[in-house]
């Protein structure tokens, strides 16, 4: 249908629309008009993606000079593919309605592993291997060698692309990863470099967060994206963690050992080259003196990992003299390495700030701040000069150099923690140096600064005000949308007690309590008897799940559950879990029914949807607080309190509740879907917890369902499921939660819609 969103003609590729979708688009339009940033929360399964795409594409078409590009960031590869498919649907609709030829170029970008078509390289299993192998075939010196010595293997696809691919623009259209590969195969061009080149002039780019947030990659890939772009972070409830992860480094003894061998290799290579080709090192030295660090044009293929710090923080001056010659630099690295080794030989935990660390290193081994800052840059230059083919071997020294650069660049927002052993195993020495970023705003700051509009959206962003605070930006719109429902298809219940009236909670003091574990087991057992098809249960941590499963096994609860459903359990091994997950779906599919025991914050809870019969009930055992004893977390909490005035408890609760909401939200997709959401912990009933759930869940939590026993839960659940199992037709929804164009245009509907969005 064609919609009029605040004066903008929007093509929406469906015959009907949800009221909240309309409302969402209105808010989005306002954000774009204001050229500002927005935080929008709308329940999963209400078609956020298509709203975003429809409106922004319409905006691009209407004001091609105002918004030139849409950069859509999502989390996982399947999600990226989904976005491209929805976009394809929209574009098909455009083509049908306007009968004009599509002149939009939209494409997905992914890592080499997903895009490579080189027969040997693409056969490798791990992303790192693929990257390394690709580099060894496409680096500029390899190609130079190839010219003089044709037996030197190069990648034919890259050669072909380099020769002609840049002159001929890729024809307009929608390209998902497979389309790109097909196109590449047809033309004989490398799809990866083609895509990387094409994103510069594409109208829509879909890729993963890392390409914008991780400075090491963003600098390579997204540096030249136009300022007049709209950036969307979908499923952004975890964006702060992505930011933090991209700037944190862990160093173990193993890293140092491997770094040691790296240094030795470098030394040998240098002395070898000195004998044969001293001019090369001379040339590098000269270049560094002149500060022409990228003089010979950073060929795209040479860049393996870029500088770990943000572009603004990179020093635009010549490399200091102390590390200019190759030998000096290697000596410098050796010294740094020895220092780190010494730091790891400790018996008690050390925590210090970056200035403290720098002071210490200056006092102990006389290493200045400035050469440290150039470490990453200098190493990159050296590796290129030495023509190292397999860069993956040098990951350890690269990591150390990145650490050096980071630690010397940022004096705030980071902390260094050195732990001699793991908390769980105090007898085994396993020293780790955590260089941990505590401020997610550091990594995302350039994104907010550079792009005209940044939209942060997800199904679970409550409480809305916290994201602008921790990411340190000023949004123009902050809104939460509820789900209009013709029937209440979600049923959140808080179970606080067992039938024996013993409180159910995963609180640390009582979590190992026999009665608590038994009650949790009984809850699952009872639910397995009344819920059809699939049940997903989430535990607060992996270790807790292991313990509970073991005691359930001993008590015979699992065996009783098996009478009703098959049991699958997430393990720490991703491949094993994938298999369990597939079998779980198979069991739901063929009617046997199954239970998946999983972990909040685990891979399953983050990336897998349990739509329709794959998840008729979600049980959240306990409140998924992060492991609070971790020193990194403590440091971060302290930082949040000092810098952003966010109280520890507020943040912890916020973090736990967003994960809980994320877990239970996995089961609902759309208004035809339905599912029970069982929060099995009495603490959920408290206002401070409950209030932090997304509005669309909170709305359906009645006072009567706050502190139920297992029996009561079963009763309510049964009733709910029976009701939901009745046929649900489109007519039932029409006019309430589903609108035709005429209904949408009616006056009182527009009034109603205005109430859907709740401004924070």
């Amino acid at each position: 249908m064609k919609l009029n969103i605040d004066g903008l003609l929007v093509y929406f590729p469906y015959e009907y629309i949800y009221p909240e979708q309309y409302s969402y688009m209105l808010e989005l339009k306002r954000t774009l008009d204001a050229k500002g940033h927005g935080v929008l929360e709308m329940p999963s399964g209400t078609g956020k993606t298509i709203c975003l795409l429809s409106l922004i594409v319409a905006y691009q078409k209407a004001y091609p000079l105002e918004v030139t590009k849409l950069v859509y960031c999502s989390r996982t590869v399947p999600e990226i593919e989904k976005v491209v498919e929805e976009l394809r649907k929209l574009m098909d609709y455009y083509a049908k309605q306007t009968e004009a030829k599509n002149d939009f170029l939209a494409l997905a970008l992914s890592s080499r592993k997903n895009l490579c078509i080189h027969p040997e390289v693409s056969a490798l299993r791990f992303g790192k291997e693929v990257d390394g192998k690709c580099h060894s075939l496409t680096a500029s010196y390899i190609r130079a060698q190839h010219r003089s010595n044709p037996s030197q293997p190069v990648c034919q696809f890259y050669e072909e692309f380099d020769a002609v691919g840049r002159q001929v623009p890729i024809p307009p259209g929608i390209y998902n990863l497979n389309d790109l590969k097909d196109f590449g195969r047809r033309k004989g061009w490398c799809p990866y470099f083609l895509a990387r080149y094409a994103i510069l002039h594409a109208n829509i780019v879909v890729y993963s967060y890392h390409y914008l947030l991780d400075p090491k990659i963003a600098d390579l890939v997204s540096k030249e994206l136009a300022k007049k772009s709209v950036v969307v972070f979908d499923e952004a409830h975890n964006i702060d963690n992505v930011c933090i992860d991209s700037m944190s480094v862990n160093i173990t003894r193993r890293t140092l050992d491997r770094c040691q061998t790296n240094v030795e290799t470098l030394q040998n290579t240098i002395s070898r080259i000195k004998e044969t080709d001293a001019a090369k090192l001379q040339e590098e030295y000269r270049r560094l003196v002149e500060g022409l660090k990228e003089a010979n044009v950073a060929r795209e293929t040479d860049m393996y990992l870029s500088n770990p710090v943000l572009p603004d923080d990179i020093l635009q001056e010549a490399v200091p003299g102390s590390i200019r010659t190759a030998e000096h630099f290697v000596g410098f690295m050796k010294r740094f390495l020895e220092y780190l080794k010494a730091r790891l030989r400790i018996h008690h935990v050390v925590q210090e700030s970056t200035p403290q660390f720098l002071k210490d290193i200056y006092e102990k081994v006389c290493i200045d701040r400035k050469p440290l800052r150039f470490c990453a840059e200098r190493l990159r230059s050296l590796l290129r000069t030495l023509e190292i083919a397999d860069i993956t071997d040098f990951s350890a020294i690269t990591l150390i150099s990145h650490f050096a650069t980071l630690v010397s660049t940022y004096s705030k927002g980071f902390t260094i923690i050195i732990e001699p052993f793991e908390d769980r195993t105090p007898t085994i020495a396993n020293p780790v140096l955590h260089f941990s970023c505590m401020d997610p705003s550091i990594a995302i700051k350039p994104v907010f600064g550079r792009f005209q509009s940044v939209i942060i959206t997800s199904g679970t962003l409550s409480p809305l005000d916290i994201y602008p605070r921790i990411l340190d930006f000023r949004p123009v719109t902050v809104a939460s949308f509820t789900m209009t429902l013709a029937r209440t298809c979600l049923c959140p219940l808080i179970v606080g007690r067992g039938n024996d009236q013993v409180a159910m909670t995963s609180k640390f003091e009582t979590r190992e309590d026999f009665a608590v574990i038994r009650n949790y087991g009984n809850l699952l057992l009872e639910m397995s008897a009344i819920v059809p098809d699939g049940i997903v249960a989430f535990f607060t941590s992996y270790i807790y799940m292991e313990n509970i499963v073991a005691s359930w096994y001993e008590q015979g609860i699992l065996e009783n559950i098996q009478r009703n459903k098959l049991i699958f359990i997430e393990t720490q091994d991703a491949a094993e879990t994938s298999m369990a997950l597939e079998k779980y779906q198979e069991a739901c599919e063929n009617g046997r029914g199954a239970i998946l025991l999983s972990v909040a914050r685990g891979k399953v809870s983050e990336g897998i949807d349990f739509v329709h019969h794959y998840g008729r009930a979600v049980i959240m055992f306990g409140v998924p607080y992060v492991y609070t004893q971790s020193r990194i977390l403590k440091a971060r909490l302290e930082y949040l309190r000092d810098q952003f005035q966010i109280r520890e408890n507020d943040f912890l609760t916020f973090d736990a509740m967003r994960h809980a909401a994320q877990c239970v939200g996995r089961a609902i997709r759309g208004k035809t879907d339905y599912g029970l959401m069982i929060f099995a912990d009495k603490r959920y009933a408290r206002a401070d917890k409950r209030g932090k759930l997304p509005r669309w869940i909170q709305e359906h939590l009645t006072d009567g369902s706050l502190n139920l026993t297992i029996d009561e839960t079963v009763q309510l659940g049964k009733q709910f499921l029976r009701q939901m199992a009745q046929p649900f037709r489109q007519e039932d929804q029409l006019g309430l939660s589903l609108l035709t164009l005429e209904q949408l245009q009616s006056e009182d509907m527009l009034q109603k819609i205005a109430q859907i969005a709740q401004q924070a």
């Binding site: 890592s111 098996q562 063929n590 929804q733």
Partner: protein, 527 residues
């Protein structure tokens, strides 16, 4: 007769059969015996024909081996070599013991199939009795075109009987009970054993290997329950335990399942992340390098339990699905389909989007009308029924009782009396049907005769057109069969009926005579 190409597995000299000395040969597919000094076998049995072998008890003077065939016949061999008789016999026995099971399956499948058909179909069984047991036609002839006919039908309905799934909790159902004196009792049923075998093929294999040669069945299961395989949460498996191999095998199976990866890329957690952080980056704690060594025993056993549950569920699921056809779609297509499913909002779409699976019915009438008694040949279509209902409804709506024109009560009551049994209108013959007149046994006999005659005629007519000498031969044979049937079955029946009923009810005679008349027409046709 002895074809030279056959592989001879064992030769035993000085074996007597029917008091005649000779040599026993065990070949690849059959067992044969030839008398001394002659180069042909007088006894030759395919292994497939042998039901079982029996041996004389130890200590008996005569050392014998008896073979019982499926037909019920038996052949006895007497090992007469004084010094090595016992050894000879045991060698032969051992070899047969290995050979027979291999062929048994082949032979049994057919036999079982026939048996099953007879059991499931009482009419066929009766027919079999009438025709084969009374030796009107031979068993082979009877089955000749029946099996092929049925096998087609069966492959369609997929073995007729639905495979029963396995309860996931079958191991839970064998809770041990204390037997009062320091021991445990496990109650096993055949169902549970079946479940164990289907879920854990390795155990089945062990069973086949060890029972009954190495241990009794009871011993086997005792060991099974004692084994760590059953109590999997303990990790160290003893080396002597026969099930430790099973555990290893299972482990391997699980590993191979894991390495095979998943078909659905939407659930593949390995390729979920586009760009994982390189090693050493990120805040997540680094997984400890020395993985299992610093884990406590308890943790290890916990993860063993988890592994076990995953494996168990996967196996149970697989056992239930074993027969299902694998749909072979390429990964790519499957992924496309999943993607489309994932982005589809069926309520936002018009109503066109709903995809349905059409019901595949063999007899759609039976589906729409439900089971109906077999006799009524004519039934109305659903359209008729709907029509008539609407007509009736229509009439009911327009119905107005005309109270002035009703019958007087005395007239009504006299009409009812007249219509009641014994009333004026209910007298007189013609109302009694044959099935009230004739006793049921005669009726059923007639029915059997009728079906038997039908079967014979089917065989007979199937020979036309006579295009081969074989068919010609068959026609002649079938004609004689028909005649035989007439003489042996129909005539006596006819006479019996005539004796009993001719006097009472004349009208039924033509009916009884029907097959006979029909037969004569056939006779005429042939001659």
């Amino acid at each position: 007769m002895a074809s030279l190409s056959e592989e001879v597995l064992l030769v035993v000299k000085r074996v007597r059969q029917r008091k005649q000395d000779g040599t026993l040969y065990l070949m690849a597919e059959r067992l044969a015996w030839g008398p001394e000094g002659k180069d042909r076998f007088t006894v030759s049995h395919l292994y497939a024909d042998i039901r079982c072998q029996k041996i004389s008890p130890d200590g008996k003077a005569k050392i014998q081996l008896q073979l019982v065939l499926h037909t019920g016949e038996s052949t006895t061999f007497h090992f007469a070599n004084e010094s090595t008789a016992l050894k000879d016999r045991d060698v032969a026995k051992e070899l047969l013991q290995q050979l027979l099971p291999k062929f048994k399956k082949k032979a049994n499948k057919e036999l079982e199939e026939k048996n099953r058909m007879l059991q499931e179909d009482p009419v066929l069984f009766q027919l079999y009795k009438d025709l084969v047991v009374s030796q009107v036609i031979s068993a082979e002839e009877f089955w000749a075109n029946r099996l092929s006919l049925n096998s087609v039908e069966h492959s369609l309905s997929n073995n007729n009987k639905q495979e029963v799934g396995i309860s996931a909790a079958f191991l839970a159902d064998i809770r041990p009970q204390t037997d009062g004196c320091n021991g445990l009792r496990y109650n096993l049923t055949t169902d549970i054993i079946e479940s164990i075998f289907r879920t854990y093929p390795t155990v089945k294999q062990k069973y086949a290997e060890n029972v009954p040669h190495n241990m009794t069945e009871k011993e086997f299961w005792t060991r099974f329950f004692q084994s760590h395989y059953f109590h999997r949460d303990r990790i160290n498996t003893g080396l002597q335990d026969i099930f430790s191999e099973c555990a290893k095998e299972d482990e391997k199976g699980l590993k191979s399942m894991v390495t095979q990866g998943v078909k659905n890329p939407m659930v593949d957690l390995l390729s979920l992340e586009d760009k994982t952080l390189d090693e050493g980056y990120g805040t997540a704690t680094v997984p400890t390098t020395s993985n299992s060594s610093n884990k406590s025993l308890r943790e290890n056993s916990n993860s063993a339990i988890i592994k076990r549950f995953n494996h168990h569920s996967a196996m149970v699921l697989a056992a239930g699905l074993r027969k299902r056809h694998q749909i072979l779609t390429s990964l790519f297509v499957a992924f496309q389909v999943k993607l489309q499913e994932a982005i589809e909002y069926d309520d936002l779409q018009g109503d066109s989007g709903r995809k349905t699976i059409s019901l595949n019915l063999k007899k759609s009438d039976r589906y729409s009308h439900g089971p109906i008694p077999l006799q009524s040949q004519h039934y109305s279509t659903s359209q008729d029924i709907i029509n008539s209902i609407s007509i009736i409804q229509h009439e009911m709506r327009s119905y107005k009782p005309r109270l002035t024109q009703v019958m007087s009560s005395s007239a009504a009551s006299s009409a009812i009396t007249a219509l009641s049994p014994g009333g004026v209108l209910m007298q007189g013959g013609g109302q009694q049907t044959i099935n009230q007149l004739v006793p049921t046994d005669v009726q059923s006999e007639l029915k059997h005769l009728y079906t038997a005659a039908g079967e014979l005629l089917r065989h007979f007519w199937s020979c036309f057109p006579i295009s081969t000498p074989f068919l010609e031969e068959k026609v002649v044979k079938m004609k004689s069969n028909l005649e035989k049937f007439q003489v042996m079955k129909l005539r006596p029946f006819q006479e019996k009926i005539q004796r009993q009923y001719l006097s009472t009810n004349v009208s039924s005679v033509p009916f009884f005579a029907f097959p006979v008349i029909f037969f004569f027409s056939v006779d005429n046709f042939i001659s």
